[in-house]
């Protein structure tokens, strides 16, 4: 039986390889954008509070900083303790039009040696982990032009 594809968090991203986007919300009164999405009340202290509606974030941004995780993170990060730990890179990306920095894992195979601050990256669909029933999906950052 095929696994069900389920986002690791509902409502944070949508789309396939061609149209994948992170999803935030925007306040109808002050136009502030929030990610992770704010669905109850605008957090701008100078805003009386408008309607918060879903808004896709820019696909591309520039590396604000990056690092990696050389040791196995603790639960609730899901790993297979039977397998040797494989480090992965994490990238903080600045989206120009939103002026927001969003952290994410790098796409598989991208290491810190491949990255520089200021490099252009794009958001792509990724898999966080799989169990017998479910493929847990997430977002990854990947350098453009690779």
């Amino acid at each position: 039986m095929a696994r069900t594809r389920t986002p690791v968090v509902a409502g944070w991203f949508a789309g396939g390889p061609e149209d994948f986007r992170l999803l935030g919300t925007r306040c109808s009164a002050c136009a502030c954008v929030f990610f992770p999405r704010e669905d109850t009340h605008c957090r701008n202290p100078g805003c009386a509070g408008g309607e918060l509606t879903k808004v896709p974030l820019s696909r591309r941004g520039r590396v604000w900083s990056y690092t990696d995780s050389r040791y196995r993170p603790p639960s609730p990060y899901v790993t297979d303790p039977e397998l040797p730990w494989e480090p992965y890179a994490l990238i903080a990306v600045e989206l120009e039009s939103e002026r927001i920095v969003v952290l994410g894992q790098a796409a598989p195979g991208v290491t810190v040696a491949d990255l520089t601050v200021g490099m252009e990256v794009e958001v792509v669909p990724g898999v966080l982990h799989e169990d017998p029933e479910t493929t847990w999906t997430t977002w990854h950052w990947r350098p453009t032009g690779v």
Binding site: V33, P36, T67, L103, V112
Partner: protein, 396 residues
């Protein structure tokens, strides 16, 4: 400006991995602070405990837990939690009670018993909790954030891993002189460079450990001090516990993203700098008046960031200040004379209290081999998860 409060006593339980409960560490520190103040526990009108989230229910009501351990005597009780700033919030609460006339003399206690390995979120499936989400979705441990900040400094200011290593070398040398520190050995730059990478570009010896420890202070009104203590006590002149201002544009633990700065312009000084500025304004002094500083070196690179946020040097010049030797013993503004978190490891609710213990001993001229001659004004600074931070200014 507000009135001063007096520091009558300071006490600590040595930091380490002792394998016992946080209550014992806190009680030992409390008794040491009371003995230092020359006061009986039954003289204390109020106790403020800094909570730990690792000790079960007693940790969430730390004030009452310590009061019971010392022997119920009817004192007013308060327990506070503010992540890594919990100890400073306890100091702030005690000070507010004294300045409001609710208590003459207050005991402040914080202690922790830390698990092995990374700090991790509380158990359970909690998708509304940003601290749970950053682990579940990204595996983003605390060192991951420290690595991001360090890499950003390298790109923005030209800091090098060798600069970061020199922070450890400096702090380990000072910590080797501190009997309360967990790590009492000097460390060389070569040893830092040979330690394992944890979160690129930071290595094991760039990142503070998690420790057991306890710290306590006895604070009083100046009037109580005049009647009951030796003249000229160390005084706390300011306690800053401000929050960030929207939009928060520095990626901060445990967040997955910053606020957007596209619509609302960010404040001119970022969060950490605003913590210090608020303390300076409250005390009516500036960074040029400082004799020493205790800063929250969760990583070596973060210590350099604090130099700039405290105004010890201009933005981007933290590594230059370190290279000049200004922040070492004998320098213009020695930083982390206690040895810092590099030598202690973090015992969360005790750490900001321990910083004030060090300021107290330095300002009394009682810091032994690590004494900074003629110390008159000191600042402590720390930052924790969820928009918490603190700075305490002490004078003599």
């Amino acid at each position: 400006m507000t009135d001063d409060v007096a520091v009558l006593g300071a006490g600590m339980h040595p930091w380490g991995k002792w394998g016992r409960g946080f209550v014992e560490y806190g009680a030992v520190a409390a008794r040491a602070a009371l003995a230092d103040a020359g006061l009986d526990w039954r003289d204390i009108g109020s106790i403020v405990g800094a909570d730990t989230v690792r000790g079960g229910y007693p940790g969430y009501v730390a004030g009452a837990t310590f009061a019971k351990a010392l022997g119920w005597q009817g004192a007013r009780v308060t327990s506070v939690y503010a992540a890594c700033a919990s100890g400073a919030q306890a100091v702030s609460t005690a000070r507010a009670q004294i300045l409001a006339g609710l208590a003459d003399v207050v005991l402040v206690v914080g202690a922790d018993a830390a698990p092995k390995g990374f700090f991790r979120p509380a158990d359970g499936d909690r998708p509304d909790d940003p601290d749970w989400l950053r682990f579940r979705v990204l595996g983003a441990t605390n060192p991951v954030y420290f690595g991001l900040f360090a890499r950003r400094r390298m790109a923005e200011h030209g800091d090098t891993p060798e600069d970061f290593a020199q922070v450890k070398v400096k702090n380990a040398a000072m910590g080797s002189l501190n009997p309360y520190a967990r790590y009492r050995s000097r460390v060389t730059a070569e040893e830092v460079a040979a330690s394992a990478v944890v979160a690129d570009p930071l290595r094991l010896l760039d990142i503070c450990a998690t420790s057991d420890g306890g710290a306590a202070l006895v604070l009083s009104s100046m009037e109580f001090a005049r009647r009951n203590a030796p003249p000229d006590p160390v005084r706390i002149r300011a306690v800053s516990t401000v929050t960030p201002r929207y939009p928060q544009t520095v990626l901060d633990l445990p967040d997955i993203a910053t606020d957007s700065a596209a619509v609302v312009a960010p404040a001119s000084d970022p969060f950490r700098a605003s913590i210090a500025r608020s303390a300076y304004e409250e005390a009516g002094i500036g960074p040029e008046d400082l004799s020493l500083a205790e800063v929250y070196d969760l990583s070596t690179a973060l210590e350099l960031q604090w130099y700039e946020d405290l105004g010890l040097c201009a933005g981007g010049e933290g590594a230059k200040l370190l290279r000049e030797g200004a922040t070492g013993p004998g320098g213009r503004i020695p930083v982390n004379t206690s040895g810092g978190l590099a030598s202690f490891g973090e015992a969360v609710p005790a750490q900001a209290i321990a910083q004030v213990c060090e300021l107290t001993w330095q300002l009394r001229g009682a810091a032994g081999e690590r004494q900074i001659p003629g110390a008159r004004v000191g600042i402590s600074a720390n930052q924790g998860l969820f928009g918490h931070g603190s700075a305490v200014i002490a004078v003599r």
